[in-house]
């Protein structure tokens, strides 16, 4: 029963985890902007999220698991997303493929999306709280 209340959060929680992982990857790329031979890494967010949530959105997944208790993979850490390696727009002599403009843009974009996921979770919690409030309050 309780997972009906928390199930809607699962999807957003997965998204949040993946966003923080992506932020960490971008931080690694920026840190290694001057390392010879370093190849910039990133992952396909949509694909990683699909893999982490089993291809279903939170709502449908909740319906699937209704009445069966916890889903089979609850509490298990998701597999890490598959990393892709960037090629350069402009070749460097030292073989480094970090494009600082791209990384800065990704970092900004990812941070903004991380915050919006946080907002989604917050408002979803607020909705749940509103729903379980007594009628006359």
């Amino acid at each position: 029963m309780i997972n009906r209340l928390t199930g809607v959060l699962d999807f957003q929680a997965q998204a949040l985890t993946l966003r923080s992982e992506r932020q960490r990857l971008i931080a690694s790329n920026i840190a290694n902007a001057d390392t010879p031979g370093y190849v910039a890494r990133d992952f396909d967010f949509a694909q990683a999220l699909r893999q982490a949530t089993g291809g279903t959105q939170g709502r449908f997944r909740l319906a699937e698991n209704a009445g069966q208790g916890l889903p089979a993979d609850a509490g298990r850490a998701a597999r890490p997303p598959r990393l892709n390696y960037a090629t350069t727009a402009q070749d460097n002599l030292d073989g480094n493929t970090v494009d600082m403009n791209r990384e800065r843009a990704s970092s900004l974009d990812n941070a903004l999306r991380y915050e919006s996921t946080l907002r989604f979770i917050s408002s979803s919690v607020k909705n749940t709280l509103d729903a379980i409030k007594p009628y006359n309050q």
Binding site: R24, S28, S123
Partner: protein, 140 residues
């Protein structure tokens, strides 16, 4: 929490870049040193960076920091100036200065300080994201 790793990663970058700045400073400081009695003047130094994997066991390349692997000395010949009056002049009247190229060092310094700033900015972003994560559920 994988977000805390960002501080390790960006911190390693900041410390590596500050080491690079240090080396640039010593190069610039020694730009005009003259060869001693052994005939060897100061040689310009340059840091070489290397990636350090800091990720979790199942995916070590998920977080990649940076460290200074070696500090290499330049093999370029020192600047030689004909100055027989100088007490450091050799038998032919030439004084050997260090092989530091100040222009190169200034460019290196600008690049290092920009990279340093990038590291700080990454940390600031991570800090504000974590702060908002701590407040999750408190504001709608």
């Amino acid at each position: 929490m994988s977000m805390f790793r960002i501080f390790d990663v960006a911190g390693s970058a900041v410390s590596a870049q500050s080491q690079r700045l240090n080396v640039v400073a010593s190069n610039l400081a020694n730009a005009d040193t003259v060869a001693g009695p052994d005939g060897e003047a100061y040689k310009a130094r340059q840091v070489v960076f290397r990636t350090v994997l800091m990720g979790a066991r199942e995916q070590p390349e998920g977080a990649a920091g940076v460290e200074v692997s070696t500090i290499r000395e330049s093999d370029a010949p020192g600047r030689r100036v004909h100055d027989p009056e100088n007490p450091s002049a050799d038998a032919d009247g030439y004084v050997t200065y260090s092989n530091v190229n100040p222009i190169e060092e200034m460019v290196n310094m600008i690049s290092a300080s920009r990279s340093y700033q990038n590291g700080i900015e990454v940390m600031n972003t991570a800090r504000s994201l974590l702060q908002k994560t701590l407040q999750m559920g408190q504001q709608a």
